[in-house]
């Protein structure tokens, strides 16, 4: 993964390995370019999962969007991570599978995806107020 640093100077913020899993933290501006490259050149043809994290109200930036790419040929996963406060670019043009996953993140965490073809809620009703998976959203009772 070190070659990502050379290929996209300035795009990679950190690379670390834990429990045998590699995580590449990217600058959010270069996300779609790197994803395109990983799919076309590195064989990560399958998007296993896409999700979001609320790092807490005090954290700057507050949210992380986490991508789990999979290469069917090489049988391995790669985790990408992008930090943001409000929005990142969609990758639904790279993998169609991202469409619903991104809507789910938007619905439950309130991170939106630029240029997404249909950025609407997926689980909660359209007129629902708030984002349930945020850490400051209560488990029960009045909001």
């Amino acid at each position: 993964m070190e070659e990502l640093r050379n290929k996209f100077p300035g795009a990679v913020e950190a690379i670390d390995t834990q429990f045998g899993e590699t995580t590449v933290t990217l600058k959010k501006e270069s996300l779609s370019r790197v994803c395109e490259y990983l799919k076309q050149e590195k064989g990560f043809d399958y998007l296993s999962d896409l999700t979001g994290l609320d790092l807490g109200k005090e954290a700057k930036p507050r949210f992380a969007v986490v991508y789990h790419l999979y290469s069917i040929k090489d049988c391995r996963w790669l985790r990408l991570k992008v930090l943001t406060d409000d929005a990142v670019d969609t990758v639904s043009f790279v993998w169609k599978a991202a469409d619903w996953f991104e809507r789910e993140v938007y619905d439950l965490l309130g991170v939106s995806f630029n240029h997404h073809p249909n950025m609407t809620r997926i689980y909660m009703p359209d007129d629902f107020n708030g984002y349930p998976l945020r850490k400051d959203y209560p488990l029960a009772g009045e909001r």
């Binding site: 994290l53 809620r121 997926i122």
Partner: protein, 402 residues
């Protein structure tokens, strides 16, 4: 210009001749509470928009407020037709965080339970898919056999559907002595039963007309849209996590990954039938190699002591109390673990902050990923085909809606 193109043109120009029809959420063939908004030109589907969330219970949020041990019961509620696969995926993910290894007997028992679950799930799929298309008899057959499998689950874990039997570090308890003979006799009768199912369907002309060439998707599109499990393998992609990223010692079993290239409903039917056979084959190997010994990892901070010891000595009682009430600390970090559930890639992404409760759990449910492909599969087909296609992607709405 074909007949279909003409219809589509009408839609694009003025919207005339297009009917919007609401299907579900209360509809027997949607397998739960799936709602689909259809745009139809006559009987031809121009567009289909699935509307989901009717069964959303916020399980991921609930898990953040439970200890790792308590969260096991919630995993049953995702895919309620294969609860043991859910338990297993969650426990293996947590075990990865804990860097914990389950003893050989526990591993083999887990494989046995996972494969029984696969057979059980595929039997329900077979019965309901056939029933949706109009063949009622297979449903009666497959539910008869499913009952036997549920009896086995009850025998082992005490519960038929929401088992919570697989625990972090192993299993709740060892299986009773009468369990293995029951599995064995089931495996012995299965080929005869399979002949019954296939005799009713495989060469049945109506069945073939309703399933062949319906809901076709190419391998490339299937990968791009995130299809998984038997639905992906029906399109000619030989991808099975039991082979590609083995867990629980699957690399020590000899089995094939069935693949069909047609990519239609019939291909998925053939794949799942063959998977039942392969599962039986794995079960037989597992029963042969089942070793003795402990089923749980010897980590007293994580695995509760046996019941006899809990009522016998005070140390074990206190230990049990700590695990059940306070939970145990899990090292900080994040893991993604996925296994091959009957429906496809079931993945758990767990982020731990080092406390007793998970900071965030995201479940990558196979039904959610598969349902996303529905519009692509039904566009341009007849309305009646929707029912066949929904059956063939084998969704469980609890799994879709979380």
């Amino acid at each position: 210009m074909t007949e279909l193109d003409k219809m589509l043109t009408i839609d694009n120009d003025s919207g005339e001749g297009v009917m919007t029809l609401n299907m579900g959420p209360q509809h027997p063939s949607t397998h739960g509470v799936l709602r689909i908004i259809l745009k139809l030109a006559g009987e031809v589907v121009i567009d289909a928009v699935p509307v989901i969330g009717y069964l959303h219970r916020g399980i991921e949020k609930l898990m953040e407020n439970r200890t790792y041990h308590q969260a096991i019961t919630l995993t049953d509620r995702f895919d309620y037709l294969s609860p043991l696969s859910n338990n297993l995926a969650y426990c293996l993910a947590v075990e990865k965080l804990l860097s914990l290894e389950v003893p050989p007997r526990g591993q083999v028992l887990r494989v046995i339970l996972a494969e029984l679950t696969r057979i059980q799930s595929h039997l329900i799929w077979l019965g309901t898919q056939a029933n949706d298309i109009g063949a009622i008899t297979p449903l009666l057959y497959t539910f008869r056999e499913r009952e036997e499998l549920l009896d086995m689950f009850e025998m082992a874990g005490g519960s038929r559907m929401h088992t919570s039997y697989i625990r972090i570090g192993g299993l709740e308890k060892d299986v009773p002595p009468e369990f293995m003979p029951k599995v064995k006799s089931f495996c012995d009768t299965l080929p005869t039963l399979m002949k019954d199912y296939e005799g009713l369907l495989t060469k049945n002309r109506i069945w073939q007309m309703r399933t062949r060439g319906v809901g076709v998707i190419s391998a490339e599109d299937a990968i791009n849209i995130g299809l998984c499990g038997p639905t992906l393998r029906g399109s000619g992609v030989a991808h099975d996590l039991r082979k590609s990223n083995p867990y629980c010692g699957y690399e020590n079993y000899d089995f094939d990954v069935p693949v069909e290239t047609a990519g239609d409903v019939y291909a998925r039917y053939l794949v799942r039938l063959e998977e039942i056979r392969q599962s039986r084959y794995i079960l037989q190997q597992a029963m042969d190699k089942l070793p003795g010994g402990p089923i749980n990892a010897p980590i007293s901070q994580v695995v509760p002591p046996e019941k006899e010891r809990v009522v016998g000595d005070i140390e074990s009682l206190i230990n049990q109390f700590h695990i059940m009430v306070e939970g145990f600390k899990v090292p900080a970090g994040e893991v993604y673990f996925a296994l091959e559930s009957p429906r496809g890639e079931l993945g758990y992404y767990i982020r731990s902050d080092g406390s007793e409760k998970p900071y965030r759990i995201k479940v990558r449910t196979p039904s959610f990923a598969n349902l996303q492909a529905l519009p692509a599969l039904v566009k341009g087909r007849l309305m009646a085909d929707i029912v066949a296609v929904i059956g063939s992607i084998d969704i469980v709405l609890g799994d879709v809606d979380k």
